[in-house]
Amino acid sequence: MPAKRVLIIDDEPDIREVVAMALECSSVEVIAASDGRAGLRAALEHRPDLILLDVMMPELDGPSTFELLQQSDATCAIPVIFLTAKVQATDRRKLTALGALGIIAKPFDPMRLAEEMGALAGWSP
């Protein structure tokens, strides 16, 4: 099975790095983008198998980025998992209703990130 390619869009470089390091250990190729715009470009350019999308970002926030991804034929098929510090059930429901694949709450355990992600995406372990 070819290695999966995951795009992480988060404005926090430390988090991008932790995600990258955690996923690379599980042989996942990680592309990182520092904001929504960069994320959209990266998605178009690299066609990742999955996008990890931060919710609270300056300028273009997570949900807006998601909308734009959905509007483009090239990216609308890419499954998206939100990474969020919002843990309220209502927030979760709102995000789910948008059509995202799932939610991973921040802070997350980096050692279990790949596992969680794969479970949501339905990848075989």
């Binding site: 932790v18 390091m21 309220q88 921040k106 997350f108």
Partner: protein, 1088 residues
């Protein structure tokens, strides 16, 4: 009287005479009768003697004849001699008897005849002897000739005897005649005497009676006169009024007791004394003047002071009347005296009282009035003039009052007064405006007291009317000051929502000049739009509700619009204003500017949100980096280093929890989060919670025990889970290894009680109250050791309270703690589809039993105990069916049935007879009957009979498309009792398939489904001829847009919002749609 006695004596003598004569006559008559009887007896005896003689004669004749036959001459001769002797003795005896008994004249004749008989007899004996002699000689011829001779002699004897006999007869006849004549004479005399006696008696009685009557009357009259005389004397002597008779020289000739006692004397004391001793010296002159007047005119009257024996003075009223004889000579005079001291005193008191009353009314300025209800006349005190400026007082026309009351008040005032009169109350009090004489209106306070007769009928009303204009004005001024001083804005509104009052704060807050707002429609002016810019309909405004329904209302989520077009966030409350009769006459709106509060809240929200993000972001990095380090991904780390990393990870996690909990409780308690209440079941949530905790429990070697209950709840499942896990994890944390933690649920009537129990160390009593407060752990070290945030229990409490439940704890040190909390059950109200059944039975037990039975089956049951109650209440209850007993006292079931059927209003209600009787073999006698149940009843029969009568619903199929299995279960269960089949589809595709297969009678559709959504399901069904017109209920979490509504329509379609509609409402709607009787859009009703 003497003459009468003589008469009576004469009468008595006469009567005696008459009675004696009657007695004598009677004796004579008796004698005559005795003589007659004796004569009769004598005659009989004589006749018998003669007959004896005749027989003897026959005996004497017999031997002379018999000898020819038997030839025994000697024997016959001896016989003859014996017989002859007997005969001779008989003749002698008869002779004696005649001499003794018969009257001499007749005796002589008889004796002559008897001696002839005797002579003949001798001859006959001699001739018989000759026969015998001849026979002895044998000369039969001669014997025969003697025989013939003897026979001739015998004939003569007989004839002679017969002659005596006839003599006797004659004699008797004669005697009888004489006696009869005597008897007749005596009888006549007797009759005369008796008649005379009777006549005498009658006369005597008549005379005596008449006389007696006159005597009695005379005596009675005498007595009456005596009594009268006695009484008049007594009356005079004992008269209450003092009466005295005085001689012409003014000395007392007579005084009665009252007179003497009035003056303190005994009557005898006064007689003979001069009358002056009883008159006050100062009044003697006027008394003398009165005396002279009496002498001139015959009578005089005067008030003088009297003097008692003891010297005290009394007021008297004296009348003196002259007494004259027939010749006009003055004899003396009568003096009638009355003690009027008390009367004078009372009169004086009354005068003082009137004066006081008069002064009092002047002093208080009250207008005192009296209303005579019977004559409808009024009296008003003079305050009417000097206080109210009218030109009249005293007797006034009642119309004056009516006319003077302010036109807006008159109806209320008179109605209240009439109410007091009619209701039997006595006090009436009213404030109103009264026009003064000068035309200005005064505020008055009017009090009345109603005087009633013994029967409670109002006679008069007396009251006082006070001018309170000044008081009122001051009060109003003060109230206005108060209201203007208030920091809150205050409006007074009339029934049309127009401002009647605006305080200064209200004017300032809204940027208006206060007076400009008076009379304006406040809703149109300041409340016309909502904060989001949508128009605010008056009908939705809490203020208009307060006015219309009299309910207090308000909110803190709306804005008021200022004059300059800007808006301010306000919190306001509208309270209805009621008059004395509890009628709403307007409303008062109190509001305050909460813009600042809103701004602060907004800032806080933003702050919380920022903190949430800003704290978590570095934490995420820290946690991530630590996690990677601890996971050994970045190279080997020493054992000590690993230990340090572990500490760092644990505490990072703790910090995260703490932040989460702080945010959670902050938002929950500020009301930012509301519970997403929905019908759910407790059991699965409890199971999930236990499963979540299980790894932790296993690690702590704590056993978990679960006991669920199956009641449906109205709750937010996520939050309920959170509460379970919080309590369970606490319980596990504080349990010793080997302990048990249990989670259990008990269903109550309104709510379900959950309990989490542990066997831990327990909580000290002084901490029990505190543990639900923030950061109030029992032991400060707990936070470190157990890793809790100190916010778990406050969060639990917040969640439970927002559900409308309560949480509490019980604990015993060293034994463990029990946390209990309640969550409301899903309202199991009377099912909306229920039928109303009216049960009529005189037996209370049966009524109770039937009612319970019907209610258990989901019907509304009303019970009545008699036929008359049934007829009385049937219209208001409007039952769908009536269960009617037959055997009831007073009105039986048949009669009630006929009355029901003869009234067009009730004729169509189906009636089922419930009776111990069985129906006639040919069916029940009344075609109107819908059914017949024979007692004793059982539940199935009753419910079966009712359902047979009512519109049928059973057998219908409803397709429920819902992916939330709990919700589907709740709904399905609700319909189970109606005989409606619910088919459940959890996905859109399954729904389409099942719809095609079953052709349901109704479709309940959730819009959000896992595979294809509700729109796709409807689109697919629209293509089917059989399905495109079925009733549809769209039951979803979000409000569809108009476009979506269009797209979602099949047959009759209703849109329900899960958030605002309960399962019971859904049930009702389904029933209405199935019964084809949808009338009003339910959604609208519940949307507000």
């Amino acid at each position: 009287v003497k003459k009468l006695y003589r008469l009576y004596l004469a009468l008595a003598l006469f009567a005696l005479l008459a009675a004696s004569s009657a007695l004598i006559l009677h004796r004579n008559l008796s004698r005559t009768y005795a003589a007659s009887v004796a004569a009769g007896a004598r005659a009989m005896k004589r006749a018998a003697s003669i007959q004896h003689l005749q027989q003897l004669a026959g005996d004497v004749d017999a031997p002379g004849n018999d000898v020819f036959d038997d030839g025994r001459v000697d024997a016959q001769a001896a016989r003859l001699e014996a017989v002859a002797r007997t005969f001779t003795r008989g003749i002698a005896e008869e002779h004696r008897n005649i001499v003794d008994d018969e009257p001499p004249v007749e005796a002589k004749a008889m004796l002559t005849a008897l001696s002839q008989v005797e002579t003949e007899m001798r001859t006959m004996v001699a001739e018989a002897r000759m026969i015998f002699a001849a026979l002895r000689r044998g000369d039969t011829g001669e014997a025969a000739s003697w025989g013939a001779r003897m026979d001739r002699t015998y004939g003569r004897v007989r004839s002679k005897l017969a002659a005596i006999d006839s003599l006797i007869d004659e004699l008797q006849e004669k005697e009888s005649r004489v006696q009869a004549e005597r008897a007749a004479t005596l009888r006549r005399q007797y009759a005369y005497v008796t008649g005379a006696l009777l006549a005498l008696i009658v006369v005597a009685i008549a005379l005596y009676g008449h006389r007696m009557q006159r005597e009695v009357v005379a005596v009675a009259e005498l007595q009456r006169r005596e009594e009268e005389l006695r009484r008049s004397n007594l009356a005079f002597a004992n008269a209450m009024e003092g009466i005295a008779f005085l001689h012409a020289d003014r000395r007392y000739a007579f005084v009665n007791r009252a007179y003497a006692e009035t003056l303190g004397y005994e009557p005898t004391d006064l007689i003979g004394t001069a009358s002056e001793i009883s008159i006050h010296p100062q009044d003697l002159e006027s008394m003398r003047a009165a005396y002279r007047e009496m002498r001139d005119c015959g009578k005089a009257e005067i008030d003088v002071r009297g003097v008692r024996k003891d010297g005290t003075v009394l007021d008297t009223h004296v009348v003196i009347v002259a007494s004259q004889d027939q010749g006009g000579e003055f004899l003396g005079y009568y003096r009638f005296m009355k003690d009027v001291t008390e009367q004078r005193r009372a009169e004086a008191a009354l005068r003082r009282s009137e004066e006081r009353f008069h002064l009092a009314t002047r002093a208080t300025n009250d207008m005192v009035w009296e209303w005579d209800i019977a004559t409808d006349t009024c009296w008003g005190s003079e305050a009417l003039e000097h206080q109210f400026g009218y030109s009249v007082s005293g007797e006034v026309d009642k119309q004056l009052w009516y006319d003077a009351i302010h036109p807006d008040d008159v109806a209320r005032v008179t109605a209240r007064q009439q109410h007091v009169l009619a209701s039997g109350e006595v006090y009436w009090s009213e404030e109103y405006r009264l026009r003064r004489g000068d035309g200005a209106y005064a505020d008055v306070l009017d009090h009345g007291y109603c005087v009633r007769d013994a029967a409670g009928k109002p006679l008069r009303m007396i009251g006082a009317l006070r001018d309170v204009t000044q008081t009122k004005r001051a009060e109003r001024a003060y109230n206005t000051l108060l209201l203007n001083a208030a920091a809150d804005g205050i409006f007074g509104l009339d029934l049309d929502g127009r401002a009647t009052f605006v305080n200064q704060s209200a004017a300032r807050l809204l940027g208006w000049n206060g007076d400009d707002l008076i009379g304006k429609d406040i809703h149109a002016l300041v409340h016309h739009h909502r904060a989001d810019g949508s128009e605010y309909q008056l009908a939705d405004c809490p203020t208009s509700a307060a006015i219309a329904a009299g309910e207090t209302g308000g909110t803190d989520e709306e804005v008021f619009w200022r004059k300059d077009g800007s808006s301010i966030a306000v919190e306001y409350i509208t309270t209805p204003i009621r008059d004395g009769d509890e009628n709403v006459v307007g409303a008062v709106v109190t509001f305050r500017d909460i813009s600042e509060r809103r701004a602060v809240e907004r800032m806080k929200d933003e702050f919380v949100s920022t903190v949430s993000h800003e704290l978590r972001t570095p934490l995420t990095s820290i946690r991530g980096a630590l996690g990677l380090l601890a996971g050994g991904l970045v190279g080997e780390i020493s054992e000590k280093g690993n230990r340090m990393l572990e500490i760092a990870v644990t505490n990072t996690d703790r910090l995260v929890r703490l932040i989460n909990d702080i945010l959670d409780i902050e938002r929950m308690e500020s009301g930012k989060i509301s519970m997403a209440l929905q019908p759910c079941y407790a059991a699965p949530l409890m199971e999930q919670a236990v499963e979540l905790i299980r790894p932790m429990a296993e690690k702590a070697e704590v056993a978990l025990r679960l006991s669920t209950c199956d009641a449906p709840l109205l709750a937010d499942p996520d939050r309920l889970m959170q509460t379970f896990t919080n309590l369970l994890s606490n319980a596990v944390k504080f349990s010793p290894p080997g302990g048990t933690v249990s989670l259990s649920a008990t269903a109550g009537n309104d709510c379900v009680e959950f309990e989490v129990a542990d066997q831990g160390r327990g909580i000290p009593t002084d901490k029990l109250e505190l543990i639900f407060e923030r950061f109030q752990q029992v032991d400060a070290s707990d936070a470190r050791e157990k890793g809790g945030s100190g916010l778990g229990l406050p969060i639990c409490r917040s969640i439970v309270r927002q559900h409308g439940g309560e949480i509490s704890v019980e604990s015993e040190l060293g034994r463990g703690s029990r946390f209990r909390f309640t969550i409301p059950r899903l309202a199991a109200a009377v099912p909306p589809h229920a039928h109303t059944v009216l049960v009529c039975d005189d037996d209370e037990d049966i009524r109770d039993m039937m009612t319970a039975l019907l209610e258990k089956k989901g019907h509304r049951a009303v019970a009545v105990g008699s036929g008359s109650e049934l007829l009385e209440r049937v219209s208001s209850i409007a039952p769908d069916v009536i269960l009617l007993d037959l055997l009831m006292p007073e009105m039986n079931g048949w009669e009630a049935l006929q009355r029901l059927k003869s009234d067009p209003v009730t004729a169509s209600i189906p009636v089922v007879i419930v009776s111990i009787f069985s129906p006639d073999r040919n069916g029940w006698p009344f075609t109107e009957l819908a059914g017949w149940i024979q007692k004793p009843v059982d539940g199935e029969t009753v419910v079966g009979s009712i359902e047979a009568v009512l519109p049928a619903r059973s057998g219908k199929t409803v397709l429920l498309v819902e992916d939330d299995l709990d919700l589907a279960r709740v709904i399905t269960e609700g319909f189970a009792s109606h005989g409606i089949q619910i088919v459940h589809a959890a996905t859109g595709r399954a729904a389409i398939e099942l719809a095609r297969e079953l052709t349901p009678d109704l479709l309940i559709l959730d819009l959000v489904l896992p595979d294809i959504d509700g729109f796709a399901v409807v689109d697919s069904l629209k293509d089917r001829r059989l399905l495109k017109a079925i009733p549809l209920i769209v039951y979803s979490g979000s409000e569809p847009t108009a476009f979506q509504r269009d797209r979602l329509t099949l047959g009759p379609t209703e849109f329900l919002n899960k958030g605002s509609i309960s399962p019971a409402d859904l049930e009702r709607l389904v029933m209405e749609l199935l019964d084809n009787r949808i009338a009003t859009p339910l959604r609208k009703r519940h949307a507000g």
